[in-house]
Symmetry: C2
Subunit: 204 residues, 2 copies
DNA sequence: AAAACAATCCCCAATAATGGGGATATTAAG
DNA sequence: CTTAATATCCCCATTATTGGGGATTGTTTT
């Protein structure tokens, strides 16, 4: 790895962009943040003209439902490694879509090491696949109605209230809830609430 | 406001510290980040030797239960304005303890304006008090046991399971839950889960 | 066209939670 | 020393949820 790693940064916070650029430039021999964007659409409009080795992106910029895949959302013709740089909780299904997940609390040297490790891991990945490991495929596929009911559950409404809100009978609410539990494997209201928060179904 | 505002920064992320320092220095005529700390204890060991006009602090560094008051946690003999610099959701009760709440998504100039506004607001504050306004006083005061039970509720355990975990009878669990509902005013499990997340009682 | 899924409704029995009312012992604060 | 708060326990009745079993009518998907 003689050449410098060319980094493209997609990060909405100007403060964080400035901080990352300055911090990574202190490892000048190894890294160069050559491109810096505040949004994915901003990145996309330039993605054919640049050729980064690594795309460092804030995972909060993605649809957190898991419906949108990171690899299709990011136009990446030269197959750069995509690394997340997170400063809040993100869902497991989103995490799995990145080569690495960095944290805002990592020190610059930790970040540098993680990025280097991403390139070392390329070899290991093949071994993992040979040894029967497949990257976790699970992604819950809730129907629109099920999501609506889930949101109401997460907001703390009782089945009777949910029935009223959606103009359906309590029986139907219960049916939907049974399917939600079956699909997600999450039985408790609190678990479903956290799931809804993580997947961007509700805010606050 | 002829003199430069002297800023002390308490922020665990080195990346963010670097970014804020660089960004605020571009307003060199008005601001100076003179001191920079990674934790409150680090700040405290120097707080008698420095005299900032403003303390910019990451609110995540505080006990999010609201039990610990920001003004007592931060040794602030010269009564500097305390401003929060947040990059995740924080509870309303914590927000109210700061002169301003900045966001990591604010641009440097927005941050600069907000900080200037803090000093203008000093005058207005007196008027607000005269006109009958009092800063919201509500702060739930859950006992240790109640917090423990709340955490278990938020983790999705049933009353029976919680009783087992804490070696008390289901009756006692129910009693604690009654008191939690009475004190917080939050009736639903999902509401209590969000409360626990916001107040840092549970992670994930 | 058949199969799978979505959305709606129903019954039943068991389990869990809510809301009201207690009680007692200990500790902390005024 | 009295009061308030905490922590523990109990009873009762009502309401809610869970988990099992259905059914029907559409709409996609293969």
């Amino acid at each position: 790895m003689a050449a410098k790693l060319r980094i493209a940064l997609i990060e909405p916070s100007q403060i964080v962009r400035t901080g990352l650029e300055a911090s990574l430039s202190s490892f000048g021999a190894k890294f160069q943040v050559l491109w810096s964007f505040s949004s994915i659409s901003h990145f996309t409009s330039f993605s054919d003209e640049i050729d980064p080795d690594i795309i460092v992106v804030n995972p909060a910029l993605f649809d957190q439902t898991g419906a949108e895949k990171v690899k299709t959302a990011i136009n990446n013709p030269r197959d750069a490694r995509i690394v997340a740089f997170a400063y809040s909780i993100i869902s497991e299904s989103l995490k799995r879509q990145f080569s690495a997940v960095l944290s805002i609390y990592d020190t610059p040297s930790e970040i540098a090491m993680s990025i280097e490790r991403v390139f070392q891991k390329e070899i290991d990945d093949n071994e993992l696949i040979q040894s029967g490991y497949t990257p976790h495929p699970v992604e819950y596929d809730l129907s629109d109605r099920e999501k609506e009911v889930l949101v109401s559950v997460a907001k703390g409404f009782t089945n009777k209230e949910i029935a009223g809100i959606h103009n359906i009978s309590v029986h139907t609410v219960i049916s939907h809830r049974k399917n939600i539990v079956r699909k997600t494997g999450i039985k408790s209201v609190s678990g479903l609430t956290v799931y809804s928060l993580l997947n961007g179904l509700i805010e606050q």
